[in-house]
């Protein structure tokens, strides 16, 4: 009987760790390198890649844009890697939990807000995209006229929100198997689009097409394309920690993260770049040209696929957010259905009220990913590698009262908040996320990298001169602990 109770408790705690936010023990980490790679690719490849590449197509031609996007994806994933992977694989914790040593037990709610904002943003884009595809199908088939398009986009987007909520009623089981199929389908769709573009428009016309908003300043155009890609990949911050904590070691996670989560976004976005250049008015959005290029049959099938793929991707995003926001104490006891409804409510409003405005300002959304996550990456890397010498007080991460070393002042670390603000101001100074107006030295340094460096530096200085002398943050015990040695 006693053994049975212990086993039952063990199963419950294992499930609370793997499906919740508790630290995952090495014996429970079941993902090898191959599994992580497959799941990362599944998460990274979605129809949003077409939109990201389409935005880069505003500034760079096909050949150079392809090279710059690959460079941006690699740099973005390096920043994510240093901020999340070593700590997540060492202690089996997710990105939000890993931010408590820098922001404080309550300050880490900022991380949750970032997670919430990011996934809401991506989901809005995908659902408006879905609405556009569904509207195009009905218009192509002659069921409705062109004038009904705006209403249909909102109606189908809102309907999809309800469908996603309905499908998620069964909990996480519905989500688990959809990712790989979506990724494979998007890859096939991408290949179909590339073949159609090359056949109908011609490779020469695509490679020689001039980007619509290129300034002619080589440094500026390359930096803008590079920044769009870095910022897009930075939005993987919440996903990366949540996934790699199920890997037994950082070494196992190293290449699957780089080649599964970072590089594929750059590669698949190339399709968006090329289509934006081939069909300039599309901005990479395939709903605007698929029926023209492929004819009604191919066009409608491809559009139907976009509808289904986007429903699947939104389900994954809502699931990740719902698990994340259940870490907030008042929401722990809220039912699963109510939590998913809470996650989808802002998406429903945006999709219903101003879908086109949101979709037309995708560049602003992408830049905000850099604004939000670049400083966070800088702070986390500086704290973990330089200040704490790769050692956390893991108990303090999960105890939220005054006894926690990460309680700081009222649960908030002012050094972390000020450093985030400094990174934010740096980014906005260098690149206005709304107008994309850039100031020097953006042309040479982009915006995410300086933003991360400034935030990390401010955090370092404030911690050394204010936080550590005040005896807050557990830095003294970290210093007295045996430093981590990397094997060579």
């Amino acid at each position: 009987m006693g053994a049975a109770v212990t086993t039952e408790l063990g199963n419950k705690t294992t499930s609370s760790a793997v499906e919740g936010s508790w630290p995952v023990l090495p014996s429970e980490r079941s993902w090898g390198g191959r599994a992580l790679f497959g799941i990362s690719v599944s998460a990274a490849i979605a129809t949003w890649c077409f939109l990201i590449g389409g935005y880069v197509g505003n500034y760079l031609p096909a050949g150079v844009g392809t090279i710059v996007m690959i460079a941006g994806a690699l740099v973005g994933i390096l920043m994510i890697f240093l901020a999340t992977v070593p700590v997540a694989t060492k202690y089996g914790i997710d990105s939000v939990a890993a931010s408590k040593p820098q922001l404080g037990t309550r300050g880490s709610w900022i991380s949750l807000a970032l997670l919430y904002t990011t996934v809401i943003g991506w989901n809005c884009l995908l659902l408006v995209f879905l609405g556009k595809a569904a509207a195009e199908i009905l218009i192509t088939l002659g069921i409705v006229g062109e004038g009904a398009r705006p209403v249909l986009i909102s109606a189908f987007g809102a309907l999809a929100v309800v469908v996603v909520w309905w499908l998620l009623r069964g909990g996480p089981d519905t989500v688990r198997d959809t990712g790989p199929w979506i990724a494979i389908g998007v890859l096939v769709l991408g290949i179909v689009i590339l073949v159609l573009l090359v056949n109908r428009v011609g490779l020469g016309a695509i490679t020689s097409a001039v980007p619509a908003y290129a300034s002619g300043d080589k440094f500026l155009d390359i930096s803008l394309g590079f920044e769009v890609m870095v910022a897009s990949v930075l939005s993987w911050w919440p996903y990366a920690g949540g996934m790699v904590r199920l890997c037994p070691s950082a070494k196992t996670a190293q290449w699957p993260v780089v080649f599964g989560l970072g590089l594929p976004v750059g590669l698949v976005s190339i399709i968006g770049l090329w289509s934006a250049l081939a069909v300039p008015k599309s901005a990479g959005d395939p709903t605007k040209y698929l029926t023209d290029l492929g004819g009604p049959v191919v066009g409608v099938i491809a559009l139907l696929f976009i509808v289904l793929a986007n429903v699947g991707t939104v389900m994954v995003g809502v699931y990740v957010t719902a698990v994340g926001i259940k870490q907030i104490a008042p929401l722990e006891k809220v039912s699963w259905n109510a939590t998913t409804a809470l996650t989808l409510a802002p998406v429903f409003i945006i999709v219903l009220v101003f879908p086109n405005y949101f979709f037309d300002h995708i560049g602003t959304f992408l830049a905000f990913m850099g604004v939000l996550f670049a400083p966070m990456c800088g702070i986390q890397a500086v704290d973990y590698f330089l200040l704490r010498r790769q050692r956390l007080d893991i108990r303090a991460v999960y105890v939220s009262d005054r006894t926690s070393a990460y309680h700081y002042w009222g649960g908030v670390n002012p050094a972390g908040i000020l450093a985030l603000a400094a990174g934010f101001v740096t980014y906005v100074y260098l690149l206005n996320p709304v107008t994309y107006a850039a100031r020097d030295p953006f042309r040479f340094l982009s915006a995410s990298i300086p933003s991360a460096v400034v935030a990390g530096s401010v955090f370092l200085v404030l911690t050394i001169f204010v936080v550590r002398p005040a005896g807050r943050g557990g830095y003294e015990q970290d210093r007295s602990a045996v430093p981590e040695r990397v094997s060579s």
Binding site: T13, L25, R29
Partner: protein, 57 residues
């Protein structure tokens, strides 16, 4: 969720935290050569790519 289940889960978290605090329950870190190869691919290679892009544009 009942009070007993909450209590069981709290106990489960405490036991887990005690384990994770031990170094033999930590995931293996990366070696310095792993970090070098990571920086080569995600730091140095992008710089080379950007230089090529600048020449081509």
């Amino acid at each position: 969720m009942s009070t007993k289940e909450h209590h069981d889960l709290d106990r489960g978290l405490e036991e887990r935290l005690a384990l994770v605090s031990r170094s033999d329950y930590e995931g293996a870190p990366m070696s310095s050569s792993d970090y070098r190869s990571l920086l080569l691919v995600t730091g140095v290679l992008p710089i080379v790519l950007l230089a090529i892009a600048w020449v081509l544009l």
